[in-house]
């Protein structure tokens, strides 16, 4: 019977050890955005935010894009024009580009995606997260594990995950994102992507179209 005793001791150790591992794994939850209403004060403090701006503050023209990370048209817009805007207009000092959050309510993971990007921005990596979110859009759109994937992208681009998790769990930028949506709506944005260049709204515009507008606005400004 000594063999049986040994077996039960080993079995008990395995049972306790396994349960411990499971509990530790459970405590490491994916960072989830809090649901529920957003405080009015948080929205108020987010008003007036100019977006994620790249380029020279003194550039003669500002190109504002209201976009939704879960919108396929925005992804196409990113692929076709945004890189051109950055390289040919922003890098040359002819314009600055601002990305503003406009997650549409029809997209279930969009707010979380925008929030993940805001948390990445906190660590100076908005652009990297932006590219991950658009680049991988088909991998997370409409899926229940989207936030788990965002966390993986956060790790992939080299974010400090503890800080990222805290940011997501707290929902630190929910108010600012809401303010951005309301700000866009007040300007007349109803769909994404919408560009605002020189006080006019344009939806789904080609790079050439944007460049032509920037050219004419620059000419007007220099007169």
């Amino acid at each position: 019977m000594a063999g049986m005793k040994g077996f039960y001791v080993g079995f008990g150790a395995l049972a306790v050890g396994g349960a411990g591992v499971l509990l530790v794994a459970m405590s490491r939850g994916a960072a989830e955005l809090p649901s529920g209403p957003i405080e009015v004060a948080a929205i108020e403090s987010g008003r007036g935010w100019g977006g994620y701006v790249v380029g020279d503050a003194d550039a003669p023209v500002e190109i504002i894009e209201y976009a939704d990370f879960e919108c396929p048209a925005c992804r196409v817009q990113w692929v076709l024009t945004v890189e051109d805007i950055k390289q040919r207009l922003v890098a040359t000092g002819r314009a600055r580009y601002a990305f503003r959050d406009f997650p549409l309510s029809m997209h279930v993971n969009s707010r979380a995606a925008h929030h993940a990007a805001a948390c990445a921005d906190e660590q100076g990596m908005f652009e990297q997260m932006h590219d991950q979110l658009f680049g991988m859009q088909d991998k997370w759109t409409g899926r229940s594990d989207a936030e788990t994937r965002f966390r993986r992208y956060a790790g992939d681009i080299g974010l400090e995950l503890d800080q990222y998790d805290a940011c997501m769990e707290e929902g630190r930028y929910r108010g600012r994102i809401q303010a951005s949506i309301e700000g866009g709506a007040a300007l007349g944005v109803t769909a994404t992507p919408t560009f605002i260049i020189g006080n006019r709204l344009y939806t789904r515009i080609s790079y050439d179209g944007i460049k032509a507008i920037v050219d004419s606005l620059t000419a007007v400004a220099s007169q």
């Binding site: 079995f11 049972a15 794994a25 490491r28 939850g29 966390r151």
Partner: protein, 142 residues
Amino acid sequence: MKHRMVIAALSLIGLYVALYLSLWKMGLMGPLVCGVGACEVVQMSRFAYLFGIPVAFFGVAGFLALLVVSLVGLRPAFVGKPGPTKLLVALSGGGAAFSLYLTYLEAFVLKAWCRWCILIAVLIFSVFTAALLGLRERPSKT
């Protein structure tokens, strides 16, 4: 009765792995830890459900049944009786066949591997082998 001890230990490990996948499916677990492979592709696929129930739940039920039968089979009243071993062969045989089907799906339909599922397949086949060997074991006096 060694085979029942081996089966009890393997079933416990299998139970924990299946529990891990079930808890993940229920959203109670963080990101799926999956070093090599595509666990989420497999776990989010349409084959991750059977009759509307997550396949991982069947794993929990199956390994729990194996665990209970093997532990009961180790009780003095059942030691030396062939009944529990036959039941273990039947249960693990069914589990192994199901696991074979799931592995086939991973290899040829999804073309994605989930190492937790492979571990479960290895465990259930080991249990099945141990149970078959147990059938040949002579009744012990312990």
